[in-house]
């Protein structure tokens, strides 16, 4: 049952993604750290994919309810996170820019 190969592939993806994340995010200037936090928060709403899979393939009512709750929670993150980040970034203006 133990699928070592799949786990290794998943771990490889995980480690590489951490490195990419480190490289990309160290370049974000301090002035944008709050939008970075709310924006990355929205990205962590990617668990919506997991929520949809769980809700979609649930057999019983318990699974469906759990799936729906997970979908709802993740959607708060996704919609709220991206919208509030956009609201903040809209306010950042250069000198003389109206």
């Amino acid at each position: 049952m133990f699928d070592a190969e799949a786990l290794i592939i998943a771990l490889t993806v995980f480690v590489l993604a951490i490195f990419i994340g480190y490289e990309v995010i160290t370049k974000v200037p301090p002035t944008l750290h709050t939008p970075l936090m709310s924006g990355s928060n929205a990205i962590s709403g990617i668990v919506i994919v997991g929520a949809l899979l769980v809700a979609g393939r649930a057999d019983g009512i318990t699974g469906q309810i759990l799936g729906a709750i997970a979908v709802g929670l993740a959607m708060i993150n996704v919609v709220g996170g991206f919208m509030v980040t956009d609201r903040m970034l809209k306010m950042f203006k250069r000198s003389g820019q109206k």
Partner: protein
Amino acid sequence: MSTDALVHLNITNVAYIIAAILFIVGLKQLGSPATARNGNRMSSLAMLIAVVATIVGNDIASWEWIIGGIIVGSTIGAISARKIEMTSMPQLVAVFNGFGGAASAVIAAGELIRLIDDGGVIAEDVSITIMASVIVGGVTLTGSFIAFGKLQGLVPTRPLLLPIRNVINVALLIGMIAATVWLIVDPSITAFLIAAGIALALGILVVIPIGGADMPVVIALLNSYSGIAGAATGFVLGNNMLIIAGSLVGASGLILTRIMTKAMNRSLANVMLGGFGVEDGAAAGGEEETRPVISIQADDAATMLAYAQSVIFVPGYGLAVAQAQHQVRELADLLKDKGISVRYAIHPVAGRMPGHMNVLLAEANVPYDELKDLDEINNEFQRTDVAVVIGANDVTNPSARTDKASPIYGMPILNVDQANSVIMMKRSMSSGFAGVQNELFFLSKTMMLFGDAKDSVEKIIAEVKDL
């Protein structure tokens, strides 16, 4: 692992790769304020692609529940994103973090129930990732809500130290490991619920001893956890895109955590163990301050500013509390009209989350190129006529450079004391969060302007206009 269903769905997988690339490019565009908004749009497009690909590529049995969840979640998210005050941004991020963690935990529960219903034999790696997902998710959920409570003033902001908290924490950790072993040996809902309960308790116990002013670090760390919880969910479901997006968020949170702790000259362990400022505060309270300070009125401050050539504003959280950012910008505009150079020095821990002060000033229409961080501005103070400190304290204390006995010794500070003169706007002589007296107050170049920051700045504006 449960990848079988997905491996065959090539279109879905291609869509996932595109989404992963868009997430990375989107984050890369956050590297400059000029491209950041576009970057955020790319990330949201990536999310849309991921969601559509998931719905199209899988046999979704029951729509009504999913659509219900989407409508309710989107509505709550959209309303809170629109209504939230910029000063309350840390609370919003904390709550969203908590929901993200909760989603991961609930997904793990749903997946476990499905697997048990399917026959009850679960591979070890799947059990472990289910447990990782519920544990990180649970800690993130309650930890974030305690952080929210502290920021909102619902939970006492001072560090709450339980007498035997270390014993309790160790006991909970042992219980968690035991529950995980139980679930691997014999997949049962009971083991899962025990782990979930322990994770929820641990989240509370970990955050409650941490002082209110350390919440920026906690939020950054929990931000990272919500990403790691997402990546763990990716392991549960064998979905690489979830792992990638989760790791990006995890890395982001960890980097911000490190920036914060470095700016406070403390280790993460020191923040997490909590109790900072408790003993020091008591000691400082016992010592009466008798040294004289120079106190001035708004008209004196107005004269100093109007006849300066260069001014640096040093805003702290007190500025946000007094809601004085719009007045400060108005004063800055007046000074700029007189040909005076105006800039803002932003310490990394100004405000209540990383970059919070920048957002508050951006909201007041301060151009972002006038906002300078510590490294950019620190050599400029010695060439500056007047530094105006509004609602900041510890981050301007020169004893951080010299006094080895000071609790803030070694913390990077803004070199406000090197300016020709300093105007310090403050409510009273009280010390900052670290509980130490600010040596800056007693310099002969420092003028204290006591009172509410918004009031004071308004008076200065009126005086400058009259000059």
